[in-house]
């Protein structure tokens, strides 16, 4: 059994089709006639463009225009006069073969992209290498691996899948994908999810252990690959596969249904998003709104502060896109752990305990906070926007932020600009201080949203990125659970909405406890919404009280986890 990264959910069972790229040796061979060589290059370029166009059209009809976009990108690069000019220049200057001229020219650009401080640009390095290999294969008469004609029931096993290889996949015949390289956000993983093909990526050295034709079972939800499974294993996974497919179908039934507990309490089931484009996904999975819209994307990967106008457009786009459904927008939550050169933030010794989020915003009202709050208020005219302030630790922060909001409202009134006068203002409860002061803070704000990732980190004094101490990072630790229960109780007593936007909100073992504590709103990644709705509708708050009491009687995280695991599996 091999472990890898779960890149696309589902179970795949089939025969291994090991994809091996023919190794090419690229040498700086001299050519006799530079003119003939340039012609040879131009011919190969034309063939590569033709091949890529076929792939693009295939992908557009089979998967969708959006997924075909990457091939359009390749065509643009292949058509670039600068690239082809430089390759021809290298052939002429050094009298070398086309393969070598392509190698050096494309690698220079790939390296340039790889070194850029921008994720989108870094992905272009993969594209450069992909078109480089394809042009060289055409020159050498090497046929590209023909993935399109794999027989039914194939499990693709490869070092990595290039975009052009993934483009050839026929989802009717490919039951799974296993690769040695890649990650959750690599192109092959994204495409596997779009095609709904189970995939496990980043399985180290798996090619050393799999031969063409081996029986393969893979679990793309758990990130597990089994080579030549026993009959029993195959049977177990076949059952799992049926269960997975059935569940998927069943979950689709929950689209359009209200999220109501058995004893009739309505729960708000909403989504976390990081970008206005994510709204489409929220609607696809029938989210009832957005419980956390992170605004950091507006400030990243650029050289100057986003203007009020730019922010206004982005907030308005989300509000309008949700057509009246609520959206909680979190003001800038950023600190010294992020490189944002134009903000001039010094490196913090302890960024998570340092100059960040509301601390930074209140210190830099004029250039950061005021434009953001003005943009939010103006956008509030176009939908149901609520403002959420992150990383609150003391009352003065709440009061100062609210005073600034009131001041801006006055300005907008004076300027005759429309906004929602009753806009709700809430806080993230994610520090130990805010949790302990929850009863006081609840009287000052319109809602709470519990950020469990940071709350766990701050309560347990554990850096969540540090593997060595990851055993301490559990939301099931009684200290964290007591904190969560207290926050919810304080919020309910004050009559305000209490939500949760950390990962715990979609954890099946946590949902029963949160319902029992009285949480009103659960915010999670859009893809978890239907599953959570199904769970919530199967419980009654009343019945869960006993479960919560029992869980809270334990004194270690492990005991709580074991008990909750047993409870949900019964």
């Amino acid at each position: 059994m091999f472990k890898g990264t779960n890149a696309s959910a589902g179970i795949g069972i089939g025969k291994a089709a090991v994809i091996k790229e023919v190794e090419m040796v690229i040498r700086p061979d001299k050519v006799a006639s530079v003119e003939t060589e340039v012609q040879r290059f131009r011919g190969a370029l034309a063939d590569t463009v033709a091949q890529t166009t076929v792939l693009r059209d295939d992908l557009a009809t089979k998967v969708g225009e959006k997924e075909a976009e990457i091939m359009n990108g390749h065509l643009m690069l292949l058509a670039d006069p600068m690239l082809t000019g430089e390759i021809e220049e290298a052939i002429k200057r050094d009298s070398i073969c086309s393969e070598y001229a392509i190698e050096t020219t494309c690698t220079t650009y790939a390296d340039m992209f790889a070194s850029m401080d921008d994720e989108l640009m870094q992905q272009r390095a993969t594209d450069m290498r992909d078109i480089k290999t394809r042009m060289q294969q055409v020159l050498q008469g090497i046929k590209p691996v023909d993935i399109a004609s794999l027989p039914e029931g194939s499990v693709i096993v490869a070092k990595d899948l290039t975009p052009s290889m993934t483009a050839g996949i026929n989802p009717a015949n490919v039951t799974g994908i296993v690769t040695e390289l890649g990650g959750k956000t690599s192109h092959s993983a994204i495409l596997a999810r779009a095609l709904e093909i189970p995939a496990v990526v980043a399985v180290s050295n798996v090619l050393d252990h799999i031969k063409d034709g081996d029986s393969i079972v893979l679990d793309g939800s758990e990130g597990v690959v089994i080579v030549n499974p026993t009959d029993i294993e195959t049977e177990v996974y076949a059952a799992k596969r049926n269960a997975f497919l059935q569940e998927k179908k069943e979950l689709e039934r929950y689209i359009g249904m209200p999220t109501m507990t058995k004893d009739g309490e309505h729960i708000e089931l909403v989504a976390n998003i990081g970008n206005p484009d994510d709204v489409a996904k929220v609607l696809q999975y029938d989210g009832e709104g957005v419980g956390l819209f992170r605004t950091e994307f507006l400030f990243m990967d650029r050289n100057s502060m986003p203007t009020e106008e730019e922010q206004f457009e982005a907030y308005k786009k989300v509000a309008v896109g949700l057509s009246g459904k609520p959206v909680i927008i979190r003001t800038l939550d950023i600190g010294g752990d992020k490189e944002i050169p134009y903000m001039g933030l010094a490196k913090d010794e302890n960024p998570f305990l340092g100059y960040r989020a509301i601390r930074l915003c209140l210190d830099r009202k004029e250039d950061i906070y005021r434009p953001q709050l003005r943009a939010l208020l103006r956008a509030s005219h176009f939908g149901q926007i609520k403002i959420m302030i992150p990383m609150i630790t003391c009352l003065e922060e709440i009061r100062e932020a609210k005073a600034l909001i009131e001041e801006i409202k006055g300005e907008l009134d004076a300027e005759g600009i429309a906004y929602n006068k009753d806009i709700q203002v809430g806080i993230m409860v994610e520090t130990a201080a805010a949790s302990l002061m929850a009863d006081v803070f609840a009287k000052e704000v319109d809602f709470f949203s519990i950020g469990t990732n940071d709350l766990t980190q701050y309560t347990m004094s554990v850096d969540r990125g540090n593997e060595k101490i990851s055993y301490l990072y559990s939301t099931f630790n009684p200290a964290v659970l007591r904190s969560i229960r207290n926050i919810i109780t304080c919020g309910r007593e004050a009559g305000i909405m209490v939500g949760m936007c950390g990962e715990a909100a979609s954890d099946p073992m946590m949902i029963p406890l949160l319902l029992a504590f009285g949480l009103n709103e659960f915010s999670m990644s859009a893809s978890a919404i239907l599953k959570s709705r199904k769970m919530i509708t199967e419980y009654s708050r009343e019945e869960l009280q006993a479960v919560a009491d029992k869980a809270m009687s334990f004194t270690t995280a492990k005991e709580v986890e074991d008990y909750m695991k047993e409870f949900i599996n019964q």
Binding site: D80, Y109, N303, E310
Partner: protein, 87 residues
Amino acid sequence: MVRAKVVIRNLTGLHLRPAGVLCNKAILYKSRIQFQTESTTANAKSVLSVLGACVKSGDEIEFICEGEDEQEALDSMIKVVSDGLGE
């Protein structure tokens, strides 16, 4: 030679798709079309050159066109950027 400045408003800056839209427009003109950023000069007819300039949202760039249809080319470049480069 004519020149004019414009601010990039695309959220993710001049990444591949908007760069492609820009270049496809530029190649329609006979004039040489370049743009300058704070740190570099790029050839608007080459996707690689445009990407290499690493232009981000909010950056101001200045187009410089030179040739028989320079004014037409300049107006067209300013318009395509102002219209959001297909986004």
